[in-house]
Amino acid sequence: MAKGPTPEELSNIDYTPPPKEWMDVPTVFKPGTFCWGAKGKNLQILEFPNARDWTPVEEDWKLPENWQEILLEGMKERLGKYRSFQLFMDICVRCGACADKCHFFVGGGDPKNMPVLRAELLRSVYRKHFTTAGKMLGKVAGARELTLDVLKEWWYYFFQCTECRRCSLFCPYGIDQAEITMMGRELLNLIGLNTDWISGPVANCYMKGNHLGLEPHTIVSNIEYMLDDIETITGIKINPSFNRKGAEILFVTPSGDLFADPGTYTCMGYLMLFHELGLDYTWSTYASEGGNFGFFTSNEMAKRLNSKIYAEAKRLGVKYIIGGECGHMWRVIHQYMDTWNGPADFLEVPVSPITGTRFDTAKSLKMIHIAEFTADLINHGKLKLDPSRNDDLVVTYHDSCNTSRGMGLLEEPRYIIKNVCNHFHEMPENTIREQTFCCGSGTGLNAGENMELRMRGGFPRANAVKYVKEKHGVNMLANICAIDRATLSAAVDYWVPGVRVTGVHELVANALIMKGEKKRETNLRGEPLPGKEGN
């Protein structure tokens, strides 16, 4: 964060609420706290409405003349279509249990980041147009008109929620705030109010199969460079296959793993593990994205982008699918894919070819998380491991919001880490597992221009990392999410310098003793292994 506030300045958080009623507090677009507007060309590619270039700080958002009508109609349609939305608009009693659970509120102090109030931004308009009390009593009943200022407030705050659902965990009614944000963003999408950082990757994924826009030859080339490094480090030459019909397993991972550090080391970990097992698997350059930024625009777009995973599995004739280390990918796969694009009755219930374990939890989905697969291998003693190769690391584990609260994957990553590392310490219990704090940059908020917001949102997580760094000397933050690998790197550099970020399968591959490997001198990052520093 070159020009933004220092950590000292940012940690001086003012929780004093403004003296006025919340409806009377205008929204201020503070630089560093919002993303750029979507580019017209990307919206056009996606056939999204109102495709044009626009800038959030400019007065004129170039909206269609009847934008209010479109939004209210859109709201009506969704209230009818999604019973959860109707319910969540009606049942909040404003008890405040969620208020201090949001990382953006904890790190920023803006009352409109209390989940209850963020939802109220939408509810107030709902009341005005869809409830009798709101229609008759107006402001007294907490109702207000949908004005341009209200619209701008929606946009500002619905892109200050990462749909992490930590607040929902504490809600006595079980109101899912992520769904409220999703509805808010869907409505904004109806009049072309997307962000560049979301619509760019969605357009790429739509055209080229992945967020980054990696074309087939780029994917192959990137993996070949990784294979070169693996050969240098282990002496072992690996030849993975791409788009191979008849493979037993299709492997799908977020494209970040194929491009950005430190995800690339995690990717090397997958390659090494699968090679060592002799796994009959294939990569796909078509289903080349596990993640789904479409999920941050509309249900239809998310479904459409997701459809290629099953389609490719069918085309290749595989038995089942293994998915890589990703967060929101797994919320989508675990909770939506089967109903959107299933049933995948052309696939089989996943059975590990190494241990014979049948993953009945994926009986319908036909897709398992690599952490489940690897934990099972270790549990059956199928991997030769030398955890001392990770002895320079004191590791803690960050639960991704989506793999923990979204699918309950809590034990497997920890079990793996404890078997491949000798030094592991948990962060405080109200910051991990179901109660994990978000990285602060999920749901497509991981852009560059909103860095102050990201650092504020990452503050509670970083604070817990700082605690274990000071108490146990933690120097490595492990996780199973591609967004985490990118965003936590920035957050810890800012708040807790000296701690680095890794995927779990990078740790696995460092410890993995491979058949015929040469004596390892370095880890996957090319750094000397513990005890080899002098060489």
Partner: protein, 111 residues
Amino acid sequence: MAMMDFQGKQIEVDDDGYLLNLDDWTKELAEHLAKQDGIELSAAHWEVINFLREYYKQYQIAPMIKILVKEIGKAMGPEKGNTKYLYELYPGGPAKQACKYAGLPKPTGCV
């Protein structure tokens, strides 16, 4: 969309100042963009920029850092094939700053 005025020509750029059209790029423009950040482009800087442009033509995306490091190492000698060297040249990060001068769009997604 933002416009940049350069040598009497209006050039389309995004909100971060990255060129929108690869064809608008000229050597003079690269020097101009670098100067705005207080950087005088040396032969070493150009080695990186030229590689990025060549790479982009073939792959339609900036290279991952691993590739940039290796290829610069091959071209400039092994002592320069490391991220430290690239960050010395481009303190704003080789992926961001060098791509900007080379006229490449910035990568987006889980990065």
